[in-house]
């Protein structure tokens, strides 16, 4: 059984603020929930399935259901870091396909900038079996991605300037987004001259950290038909963990090598068919490895591919992260997966910022990454299409 065409995204909402000192985490979950439901033309009373990750405050999805006054018949608090929300949409579609719910709400909220939530991730849990063999040596999130960048450079000749082009592209897109945290276009030189955080990653190779959040509403086909709103068809989903594999960790690829083919197969499409891609961009190297792993270019050829301008909207070969992505727009709670889905929905609805709207956008891909490229991660891929796709 496939989820292809069994569920639709009817509503999407991104919190417009990047600093939210005056609302609690729970309230931000509620605010984005109401925003996405209003976008769909639905209300909280319609929701019978609820999805959030384990970084939501309280006791999984139960505390948030209580706060918002929901009594869903299906709750899923799958935790895979920043890839959680992309996975949740796949899980919601599966739940709808077998009749477990008909209106599924997925929410994300975070406040790492003004306090109120930790920056995400669970590195250092003393009960985790890997902790003693890693944390004592001082790994940080950027340094674990830097290890991957260094090895990719070693094996394939990738350069810092090629990685910088990914930030440059994000900044060219972000200048059209009035809500983006960073709206100034940057050059390759500015990226390379920004302070080194963890060699070879500079400060501008890293994403922003923001307060914020987002939500999407996934509905059954008969509900999508009844709504006034253009709905987005869910065509395929794949997810996979990648880990250190009994000491055989290979830093040159991500879990997208598994999640991507699963999603493409379910959707009945190939990378060549994709008009727009939202790719998780915690760091520039995250994008580079992921586009290779999803098959948009050959393994190791990501550097030249990016350098050619392929990622630039609206006319590049693979217009990418047209909201400015995590690198320039937002990365709420260090978890960018939700915003990847939201911008893909905007593109398919012709609602992206006009300067970066892809012409005749029929098929889009959204990919989430959680955890760390240098150790263990979650990967999740969604293929989305217009209502008649």
């Amino acid at each position: 059984m496939s989820i292809r065409g069994k569920a639709f995204i009817a509503g999407a909402f991104e919190h417009p603020l990047r600093e939210i000192p005056d609302a609690s985490l729970a309230q931000i979950h509620a605010d984005v929930a109401l925003g996405a439901l209003a976008d769909a033309g639905l209300s909280l009373d319609d929701v019978d399935g609820y999805f959030c990750a384990a970084d939501a405050p309280g006791f999984g999805g139960i505390s948030m259901a209580e706060y918002m006054g929901m009594r869903p018949r299906y709750v899923d608090t799958t935790e895979s870091g920043g890839s959680s929300y992309v996975a949740h949409v796949g899980h919601a579609a599966a739940a709808i396909a077998v009749g477990k719910c008909r209106v599924a709400l997925v929410t994300l909220a975070g406040k790492p900038r003004t306090g109120g939530s930790p920056p995400g991730g669970s590195m250092g849990d003393p009960q985790a079996p890997e902790t003693s063999f890693e944390v004592a040596y001082g790994p940080t999130t950027p340094s674990l991605y830097a290890l991957a960048a260094k090895r990719h450079m070693h094996e394939f000749g990738t350069t810092s300037a090629q990685l910088a082009e990914i930030k440059v592209t994000a900044s060219r897109h972000a200048k059209h987004n009035p809500n983006a945290l960073l709206q100034k276009e940057v050059t390759v030189e500015e990226v390379l001259e920004s302070p080194m955080v963890s060699d070879p990653l500079h400060r501008l190779d890293c994403c922003v950290v923001t307060d914020g959040g987002g939500a999407v509403v996934v509905v059954a086909p008969e509900i999508a038909q009844a709504l006034e709103r253009d709905c987005i068809k869910i065509l395929g989903h794949g997810e996979s963990p990648k880990h250190t594999d009994n000491g055989r960790v290979d830093l040159t690829y991500t879990g997208a090598v598994w999640s991507g083919p699963l999603a493409f197969e379910e959707a009945g499409t190939t990378p060549k068919d994709i008009d727009y891609a939202s790719i998780y961009d915690s760091f520039t190297i995250t994008v580079l490895e992921t586009i290779e792993d999803l098959g948009f270019c050959e393994k190791g050829a990501g550097g030249p591919y990016v350098e050619s301008g392929a990622l630039r909207a609206p006319d590049g070969e693979l217009p990418l992260n047209t909201d400015g992505g995590g690198l320039c727009n937002n990365h709420p709670s260090n978890r960018g997966g939700m915003t990847k889905i939201i911008e893909a929905v905007r593109q398919l609805r012709d609602e992206a910022n006009p300067a970066v709207q892809v012409g005749d956008c029929q098929l889009a891909l959204a990919h989430g990454t959680g955890g760390s490229l240098g150790t263990r991660m979650g990967s999740a891929t969604l293929i989305l299409g217009r209502e008649d796709a």
Partner: protein, 141 residues
């Protein structure tokens, strides 16, 4: 580059106790699966390759090659404010790649593929952290 790195005490799980006891004696011990012969890293109670729980301990050579490394400028926790330090993966002669630090080293000269050997950093609690240093001949010096 930084001189002395922090030496945080590891959390010792029952399954990894013999690994940590050995480090306290300046020895690097690894597990090998007696069913499928896989070297198991990190230490645990089940072979992740074949699910066997028949794991034996053996003494590793303490040598390896640098698989990847980074000079980290912004440490956190005990590493906050100590200055740049090297985080690396070392591929042990026995196969596994382990996360570690490279110490006593000119970071400008460090390369992927560089031969390194083990150094034990005593935590003062009967265990030691496993770090590595480049192997250089006198002639290179």
């Amino acid at each position: 580059m930084t001189g002395e790195l922090p030496r945080p005490e590891p959390v010792v799980s029952p399954e990894a106790r013999r690994f940590w006891e050995a480090t306290g004696e300046q020895r690097l011990r690894l597990q090998r699966c007696s069913e499928c012969a896989a070297v198991v890293w990190y230490p645990r109670g089940i072979c992740p390759d074949c699910s066997s729980s028949n794991l034996d301990w053996f003494e590793a050579s303490g040598r390896g090659l640098v698989y990847s490394f980074t000079i980290n400028h912004r440490g956190t926790g005990p590493y906050e404010g100590i200055g740049p330090y090297i985080l690396a993966y070392v591929e042990l002669e026995e196969g596994p790649r382990m996360l570690t630090n490279i110490v006593d080293c000119d970071s400008e000269k460090l390369r992927i593929g560089q031969l390194v050997e083990v150094r034990f950093a005593d935590t003062g609690t009967g265990t030691a952290l496993v770090r590595f240093t480049p192997v250089e001949t006198v002639a290179d010096g």
